[in-house]
Symmetry: C2
Subunit: 304 residues, 2 copies
Amino acid sequence: MRFEVTILGSSSATPIYNRNPSSQALNINDRLYLIDCGEGTQQQMLRFGVKASRIDNIFISHLHGDHYLGLVGLLSSLHLNGRKKTLNLFGPASLKEIIEIQLKYSETDLQYNINYVFTDPEKPVVIFENQDITVETIPLEHRIPTTGFLFKQKKRNRKLIKEKIDELNIPIEYFTAIKKGNDYTTNDGTVYKNDVLTTAPEAPKSYAYCSDTIYTEQYFKQISNVDLLYHESTFLNDMLDRAQTTFHTTALQAGQVALQTGAKKLALGHFSARYKTLDDILAEAQSVFPDSELAIEGKTFVIE
Amino acid sequence: MRFEVTILGSSSATPIYNRNPSSQALNINDRLYLIDCGEGTQQQMLRFGVKASRIDNIFISHLHGDHYLGLVGLLSSLHLNGRKKTLNLFGPASLKEIIEIQLKYSETDLQYNINYVFTDPEKPVVIFENQDITVETIPLEHRIPTTGFLFKQKKRNRKLIKEKIDELNIPIEYFTAIKKGNDYTTNDGTVYKNDVLTTAPEAPKSYAYCSDTIYTEQYFKQISNVDLLYHESTFLNDMLDRAQTTFHTTALQAGQVALQTGAKKLALGHFSARYKTLDDILAEAQSVFPDSELAIEGKTFVIE
């Protein structure tokens, strides 16, 4: 099953040419999910071939402009391009007021319904579920109410060993039970244990999006052992004081989060505009957690 | 005196890669004025070397997102970058509510003051004046309340003919009166007519920004004989019906506006995303008004 994240924006609040504010497109089993929607996200989607019309679920972490100011434009474009299908929008409750006031004054009567699901920054909640995944909020600690998002693939069925199934001539109506782990008993009473008939499924994949937050261990347990951890790394560690004052994380700390939570890979983002190049950010994180990468515009992280 | 317009965005509401929504930076006598502020305007300013910190006056034509969705991000960046100086913001009254709700939920307490000046879409009003220019609103006819803006350089003083002034040994305290057109009388009663002492000043320059509007003659008299007319030309004339339904103008009509109002030059913009190339738009306007040009991203119109 495809499970990949394309980075649409890597910058923090003040603008820098060629870096865009936060937004990411997840493709999980060919369904698209959008996380955050900074200004210019529509242009970035056009640039990197992410089809806006295919997005049914948008997740907004918090109401600092660099995480949502592209949203009203996107909602309007979906309307102008004829969308009729309901869109699920997950985020802080005040987002609804912000959107509705702007639609009101532009006299835009959306042709589709927005299903708002409000996030609670105080505790993890499963806010979305479909056949492929669950999504739960990650309570973060920032200047204003903020949540990250944990995307977890559901546990999948075991895989039939086709040759064995054929050899034993097992009728198709037994397949579902066998895939779920049951043994198979023939008419003459012979029992074939499940592990003779099936192989283990792929391990469920997982992705944690953690932006914006001060360094805190409060969500370590929740995100333990994810395949990919995106963590903000706004500053280098020589600006630790500034990171703490502004409730952000340094690259060194992001590496520590990945190390301590047992992440398989770390994606770094939300860079301060003061860093014209990002080599030092990457090196600092890698000094703690070698499998770190920069989550820059256009990069796709594929979880195998 | 420098009087030039740099185009930051040329597209209408639905996005197209490599065209940005409406925004223009005016440089008049080295003061910067921003007209409209579509999403991504900050990136465009960085791209084309327009210094955001030098802008003291922002003019918003109306509350469709493609004309103002970059504004809250810009206001926030000015704050983050330490602005203390008051910013004048001209636009529909509801803009204040839209901005304030977003600052409230992001818990942003701006370090500078915004002086709101609300526009009236029903009649032309001089909304700004300084030593260089006046700015008046142009009532347009669109789906929601909309004004254009007419920038007019003030009438300047006549220029002293230095050689003549020196020859007659005219004392400096008479210069202001002579520049204003007075004659000069010597102590022995000889009168020197003003046109012997001075030459005419440069003609005052003018720029009219007309977006968005249906074709209407209601503002023709107000914008007559401008040096540069920016007029929206969202569609080709084969989509005249669509233009009328959506209260927009075709390229042919934009040419007619320029012709009938005696504009010296026409700048075309606000192009529908359906036009991947703009040659036909330009040709159509030029068929009526030869001195038409495309107002595309990065182009600067210099009024000599």
